[in-house]
Symmetry: C2
C-alpha cells in the first residue's frame, strides 16, 4: 500500500528561490547580446486618427540609428496579440483586427513607428525626429456610446455598432418560468473599473534573427508556444524556424502577456529583421500602462428570481464590456464572465448575454480572474442584498443555493468535487461570522463590518479554447530525472511544483529532479501559463510522462528481477512480496544505459477541468468622516483540490487577495476627455502597498478532485475573485450603504455616506 | 510505389553554411557571459615529478585574480577524460587514472594549477606567481623502455610493467595450422608516428555555476551527454543538475574531444565553483598540442602466411602503442586496431595481441581512424611486399583475399554489404592502374609511381562500447518539423544530414525542418559524434522518431479521411487508391492542434553496425636528389552505403585524404630528450596546406547497407585510413624502396635512397 507522499504536500525549497533572493535570476530585461540594439516605440498622442504622412528620414539619419519601422516597411498580416485567435475552437471565429503598425491609430498609445539604435537614448531621440501628420477622427470611450447607431465604427465588425466578436449567449432551463415561480425579483446593474495587472516586470522582448533566417525571441510571454504561432503568422515563417523562450524567468504576468507581451516581440523581431542585429525592446512603465492590456471595465446587470425561503428560481445576467481599441481576449472574457457567474449557484433557469465593445481606449484583455471578478462583484453584492432584504443569513442563502457535485450546470464538464461548504464553514469560523451583529454599532466614527463572497473558477481553459500540454520526462544514467515542459514560471512556483510531481511519481528525492521550461525548442507543445492551469494541466502532462517513464523502468526492472510484481519507493524498485529483492533506480538506470536504453517518458494530455471553490470573508473599518475603508482582516478559504506545495499555494492566495483588495478599494485607470490615461505610473495608480495589507488568514481546503494530478485544482486566479464583494458587503454591514460601483475609494464612500444622510 | 527520394541524395543548402561563411557562427571561443572570468592553466615543465610544495598566496593576492585551483582545493575523484571509462561494456574494466590536479605530474604539460581572473593577461601573470617545488622522478618515453622490468611505474597497473588496461587478444581458427599450410611466411614490423588532430578550434569551455548549484557547461566536446557524465563523477552531482552543450558549433574534432575537451571543462567548472562567476577556459595552440590527446604512436608487427597463388592462410598481428601519461582511449584503440586490421581480408586463421603502454608523454587518445590507420599502414605495406615478392598484381592479391558479405570474420556483427570490389575497380580505372609499369623509369631524377591501399571501418562503436541514440521529432502546428538530437555538428554537416532524413520520412520540404542539437537538456541521451556514427546511428534515431511521428499522423489522418490505406508524399496525406482524397500535413497538424494533439515522435535505437569499404590510389613523384615526395593525384573510392548529401560526403572524404597525406608525409610530434614537445605550433608542425593538396578524385560507391538509415554507412573516418599506405606503396613503385616507418619526410626518403645506393 502506498505510504504517505514523499514530496507532494511538502514545502520543498523553491527552485528559483535562491537565485531570486540573491538577485541572480535572469529576466528578459537583464539580457544583453553581442551587438544588441535598443528598440523604442513612437506612440499615438491621439485616441483616433489617420496618419496622412509619416517621414522617418531625419530619424534614419541620426548617427547610431540602425532601423526605423513603420506600417510601410513591415508585415501587413493581421493578428491578435492574445493566444485567443489561434486557439479558438471552431466554429468560433477568431478576431484578428490589428497590424504591427497601421496607418490608422485607435487609442492614445497605439504604435506609430519604432526605432532600433545603439543606445536607448539615441532611440528615444530618433523618435522625436519622426514627422507624422495626423487627421483626427471621431473617438468614443464608453461602450454604450460606442454602440449607438451614429457612432463612428472603430473596426468593421459583423455585428455592427462596434460590437466585438460574436455575442455570447448561454441558456439553461426556462428563464420566464423561473421568474414566474419567484416570490421576489431583484434587478441591479453594477459598474466595474479598469484595473491594471501591474506586474513587476514590464513587457519586454529580445529578438535575434540569424543570417540563416532563424528567429529567436526571448520574452516575457506567459505562453511561448502560442506566441511562436502568432509571430509565425505575422512574419510568415514556418513555426519550426522560430524559437520563443523565457530567459529563464518572468516578473509576473497576471494575464497581461498570454500571447504577445503587448507588441514587444513583433516590434523586436521587425527591428531585428530590418537592422540585421539583435534588438531588445523593454516597455517603460508608462508604455506598460497605456499600451498593454488591462482588465475589462464595463457593466454587469443581474435579475434574480427568489422564493421566500431564499431559493433562486431564475438567474438572468448580462454584461457589456469595454474592449478598448483592439480585440485581445474581448471575445472570450464575456463568455467566462457568464459561465463562472452562472456556475457558482445551482439554479434550474438561467440565461446570460454578454459581449465586448470597441472604444478608443487601451485594449482590455486577460487579467487574473478573466471576467470572474466582474461577475462575482455583481453577483455576490446582489446575493447580499437579497439576504438582507429577505432577512436571511448571507451565509445560509449561499449554502442553500450553492452548486454541489452531481447537480447539472451550464458548464460542459461535470462538477466532481467541491470544498465550498468547508470553505464557508472554516472561513466563517475564522472571521468570527457570528460577531456580525455586534460589530455593527451605529454611533461611532469608525464603524466595523463583516462581509463575505464566494466563487468558483476553472483549472484550465478546456473546453472553452484549445488547451493541452505535453511533457518529456527522462531518466538520466544515474537515476536522476529531467523534466521538460514548455510552461513558463512567472514567479508562481510552477517549476518547483512540476518537479515535485515528477519526484513523487518516480520516487526520487526532489533534489535529483531538474527541469527545462518555457522554450519552444526544447519542449513539445504546451499552451502555457494561463487559466490557473499550470499545476493542473501542465502537471497532468508531467505526471503522464513520469508514469510513462515509470512503466518503462518497471518493465526493464522486471527482466532483471524476475518478477512483474514490482513497487517503486524511495529510490528503489523492489519485489512487492519480497522487499529484500530490490535494485536501486540508479543501478537500473546505469544497467539500462550499458544496454543502450534510456527511459524516455512522453506525456500528452488534453486536460479535463475541475472547479476550485472559495469563500472569502473581510472585516473592515469605515471612517464615517473621511470615507476611508480600512481592511482589518481577510479570510481566504480555498478549495485547491490538493496543495502540492502549501507555501506556494498560500503565496498565490495571498497575492490574489491583495489584488482583489486593490480592485475593491483603489485601483482604477482613468482617462481624460481626450482618451489619455491620467494615472499611468505606480506613483499615480493606486496599487495597495505592503502598508495596506491586512492580516490574511489563508485556509487550504483539499477536496481531492478525481481529474487533477494528485487531486489538484487551479489556484492561480481564485483568490482575486471574491475579495471585492466581501469587502463591499462588509462595508454595507458596517455602514448600511450599498455600492454598485468599484473601487470603494474614500471619495466614493464619502459621497455615499453624504448622500445617505 | 515510392518515387525517387525528395531530399535524400540532394545537395541541399548546408544549415550552418551561411552563418559560417559570414563569420556569424558562434563557437565556444566566441562566448562572453556577464561577469565572465578567464581561466589559465599552469602546466608542468617536467615530464615526471612530485610536487613537494605549492604556494599560491602571491597569485591569489594579485588584483583581478578570483580563484586559484590546485589539487588541494579541488575534487579528488579519479576519472578518464574520454568517454571510454563510462561507456565500457562490463566486464571490461574502465581505466580511471587521473585527477583534475594531482600532486604528481607525469608529462610536460600536465596540469599543476589554474587561475581565474578578470582578464586573460592577469590570469597569465598570476600563473607566474605560483611557486612550485618539484622532486624530479625518473621518466620514460618509449613503450618498450617503459615495459622493462626495472622501469619506473608511472601508474600502478594490473598487468604491471606500465601496461595500460587489459591486453587485447583476438583469435580465429588455428594460427599454427594456418602458418603450416603456407608456402611463404612474411614478417615485418612497422613504426608509427605521433600525429595531432590539429583541429581548427582549440579545446575550450565556459562554465557557469548558478547560485542554486546548477552547472552549465558550453564546450567544444564532441559528446555532450557522456561529457556530462564525466563531470558529474568529478564533481559528485546528479547528472540532471549539469547541462552540457555546444554553442552551437565546434571547430573540428577528429576525436580529440570525445568526452572532455582535454581538461577545459572540469577546469572551468572548478574555477567557477571557487569564484562564483562564469569562467572561460580556451587552450592556446601550444596547450592544445602538449596537453590534448594525440594519435597513438607505436609498433605494429605482422606475420602472414601465403600460398603461392597469393591466398592468405594465416594472419598474426600485434601492436604496442604508446599511450602517454594517462589513459584516454588507450585501452580501446589497440582493440579497434586489431579488429579492423583482421577484418579487411578474409582468412580462416587469425590472431591479434595488442596493448597500450604508459610513458611520460602527452596522452594519446582518439583520432580519426582510431587505430585503423596504424593497422592499415602496416597491413597494406606488407600486402604490397607480398604481391611484389610473389609477382602478383597488388590489386589482384587484394581481390583474392578481401572480405566479402556472408563470410565469417572476427567482428561480432555480420557483413551484409560491400562495395569494396567496386571501389577497387573504379579507383583503379580512375588512377590509371595499368600505367604502373610505364611510369617506373629508373633513370630520371623525378620518378613516378602508383600505389594503393584498402580498408574498412565501422559505422559506430557498437558493440565495442556502449553506443546508442535517442531523438525527438515533433510536428509543429503548421506541419513544419522539429528534430532534437544530442549530437553536435563539428563541421561535418551532421545537422543538415539529420534534417534531410526527417524531411524525407515526413515528406516535407527541407526548409521546413529545424533542429536542436548538442544540448543535454533539450535532447534525450545520445552518445555523440565519434566512430563515424552520426549519419548512421544518430540518423537511425532521427528516422525512428520520424517514423513514430509519421505513424501518429497517419493514424490521426485515417480518422479524418475514413481509410487506413494512406500514403504521405510531398506535404500531403492521400488515400493510396484514390489520390483525390487528400489532406495537407499542415491541415492535419492544425486540426490535431485544435483537438489538443501534437504528433511527438520518439526514436530510441541501439545501432547495428555496417562496414564502410574503401580503396585509395595515389600517384606520386619522388625527387631522387632531395627525397621529396610530391603527391600528384589521389583517388578515393568509398563505399558510403548511401550518400545523403553527396557534397558533404565528398568534403568528408577529401578532408580525410589530406589528413592521411599529412600522416604519410610530414606530420609528427617530436620530443626532446627531456620529454618536451619540439613542434607544438602550426608553424613548426608539418601540416599539409592548401598548396600541398593534389588532385583528389572522390568516387562515391553506394552499397545500400540494409542496417543503415536509407542504406548509409559511416564515412567520417574512412578516407584517412588508406592514404598513407597508398602513398608509401606508390613511393615503392616509383623508387623501389620500402619504408617501414612514417612519415615519409624528405629526410627519411633521402636517407632511404642514400642507403639503397
Amino acid at each position: 500500500m502506498k505510504r504517505e507522499y514523499s514530496t507532494i504536500g511538502k514545502n520543498v525549497k523553491k527552485l528559483d528561490g535562491i537565485e531570486k533572493a540573491m538577485g541572480k535570476a535572469m529576466f528578459t530585461t537583464d539580457m544583453k547580446l553581442p551587438k544588441m540594439l535598443y528598440g523604442k516605440t513612437l506612440r499615438s498622442p491621439h485616441s483616433h486618427a489617420r496618419i496622412l504622412k509619416i517621414d522617418t528620414t531625419k530619424a534614419e539619419a541620426l548617427p547610431g540609428v540602425k532601423a526605423v519601422a513603420t506600417y510601410k516597411n513591415t508585415s501587413r498580416a493581421k493578428f491578435n496579440t492574445s493566444v485567443a485567435a489561434l486557439t479558438t475552437i471552431p466554429p468560433l471565429k477568431p478576431v484578428e483586427d490589428q497590424y504591427l503598425f497601421d496607418s490608422v491609430v485607435r487609442y492614445v498609445g497605439d504604435e506609430v513607428a519604432a526605432v532600433a539604435a545603439v543606445s536607448e537614448k539615441i532611440a528615444k531621440e530618433a523618435l522625436k525626429l519622426i514627422e507624422v501628420e495626423y487627421e483626427i477622427l471621431p473617438a468614443v470611450y464608453d461602450p454604450f456610446e460606442a454602440m449607438k447607431e451614429d457612432a463612428f465604427q472603430i473596426h468593421p465588425t459583423e455585428e455592427g455598432n462596434n460590437i466585438l466578436g460574436e455575442k455570447v449567449h448561454i441558456e439553461k432551463g426556462n428563464i420566464d418560468e423561473g421568474f414566474q415561480s419567484a416570490d421576489h425579483i431583484f434587478e441591479h446593474t453594477f459598474k466595474l473599473p479598469v484595473q491594471k495587472q501591474a506586474q513587476l516586470e514590464t513587457q519586454a522582448a529580445v529578438a535575434e534573427v540569424s543570417v540563416g533566417g532563424k528567429v529567436t525571441v526571448w520574452s516575457t510571454t506567459q505562453t511561448p508556444h502560442p506566441t511562436r504561432r502568432i509571430l509565425a503568422s505575422i512574419f510568415n515563417l514556418p513555426y519550426s524556424k522560430i524559437r520563443v523562450l523565457n530567459p529563464p524567468y518572468i516578473g509576473g504576468g497576471f494575464g497581461v502577456r498570454i500571447g504577445l507581451s503587448a507588441k514587444a516581440e513583433p516590434i523586436a523581431v521587425a527591428l531585428s529583421i530590418l537592422s540585421g542585429q539583435p534588438v531588445k525592446v523593454v516597455y517603460d512603465r508608462e508604455e506598460d500602462f497605456i499600451a498593454s492590456d488591462t482588465r475589462h471595465s464595463g457593466y454587469v446587470t443581474l435579475k434574480t428570481g427568489v422564493k421566500n425561503d431564499g431559493t433562486f428560481t431564475a438567474r438572468k445576467m448580462s454584461s457589456v464590456l469595454n474592449g478598448g481599441a483592439y480585440c485581445s481576449f474581448s471575445a472570450e472574457v464575456p463568455g467566462v464572465l457568464g459561465a463562472m457567474g452562472l456556475s457558482i449557484y445551482y439554479c434550474e433557469n438561467q440565461m446570460y448575454d454578454g459581449h465586448g465593445v470597441y472604444t478608443n481606449t487601451t485594449p482590455a484583455g486577460a487579467m487574473r480572474g478573466f471576467g470572474n471578478p466582474q461577475a462575482m462583484f455583481a453577483i455576490e453584492s446582489q446575493v447580499d442584498i437579497i439576504a438582507h432584504t429577505l432577512g436571511v443569513d448571507p451565509l445560509e442563502i449561499r449554502r442553500k443555493n450553492m452548486m454541489t457535485p452531481g447537480k447539472s450546470w451550464i458548464l460542459p464538464y461535470e462538477c466532481l468535487s467541491s470544498g465550498l461548504e468547508e470553505c464557508m464553514d472554516k472561513g466563517a469560523s475564522a472571521i468570527g461570522w457570528e460577531r456580525r451583529g455586534e460589530l455593527n454599532r451605529k454611533d461611532t466614527r469608525i464603524r466595523r463590518g463583516i462581509g463575505m463572497g464566494i466563487g468558483t473558477h476553472v483549472s484550465n481553459a478546456w473546453p472553452f479554447c484549445v488547451d493541452y500540454s505535453n511533457a518529456y520526462v527522462t531518466i538520466q544514467q544515474d537515476g536522476s530525472v529531467h523534466v521538460a515542459s514548455g510552461v513558463p514560471d512567472m514567479g508562481t512556483g510552477t517549476i518547483t511544483t512540476l518537479s515535485q510531481m515528477a519526484a513523487e511519481v518516480l520516487e526520487v528525492p526532489f533534489e535529483k529532479v531538474s527541469i527545462t521550461f518555457a522554450d519552444t525548442e526544447s519542449t513539445p507543445y504546451e499552451i502555457g501559463s494561463h487559466a490557473s492551469r499550470t499545476c493542473y494541466a501542465s502537471g497532468s502532462a508531467v505526471v503522464a510522462a513520469s508514469n510513462d517513464a515509470k512503466e518503462q523502468i518497471l518493465e526493464y526492472a522486471s527482466t532483471k528481477m524476475g518478477t512483474k510484481d514490482l513497487t517503486m519507493e524511495n529510490g528503489f524498485i523492489f519485489c512487492t512480496n519480497n522487499p529484500q529483492n530490490k535494485m536501486s533506480l540508479s543501478k537500473i538506470a546505469l544497467d539500462a544505459h550499458v544496454e543502450g536504453k534510456q527511459f524516455v517518458g512522453v506525456g500528452k494530455i488534453v486536460p479535463k477541468n475541475a472547479p476550485p471553490y472559495f469563500a472569502q470573508f473581510a472585516e473592515v473599518e469605515v471612517d464615517m468622516d473621511t470615507g476611508k475603508v480600512n481592511v482589518i482582516k481577510v479570510v481566504c478559504a480555498n478549495d485547491v483540490g490538493k496543495a502540492i506545495h502549501p507555501q506556494i499555494v498560500e503565496g498565490q492566495l495571498e497575492g490574489g487577495v491583495v489584488m482583489g483588495m486593490g480592485y475593491a478599494l483603489g485601483e482604477e485607470i482613468k482617462y481624460d476627455p481626450n482618451g489619455k490615461q491620467l494615472n499611468y505610473s505606480f506613483e499615480k495608480y493606486n496599487l495597495p502597498t505592503a502598508m495596506d495589507i491586512p492580516e490574511i488568514d489563508t485556509i487550504i481546503v483539499e477536496s481531492h478532485d478525481p481529474t487533477g494530478p494528485f487531486g489538484v485544482k487551479g489556484v492561480g486566479e481564485t483568490s482575486s475573485v471574491a475579495t471585492a464583494p466581501a469587502i463591499s458587503n462588509a462595508v454595507y454591514d458596517a455602514i448600511g450603504i450599498r455600492f454598485h460601483e468599484l473601487p470603494l475609494t474614500e471619495e466614493r464612500v464619502y459621497k455615499g455616506i453624504k448622500n445617505n444622510k
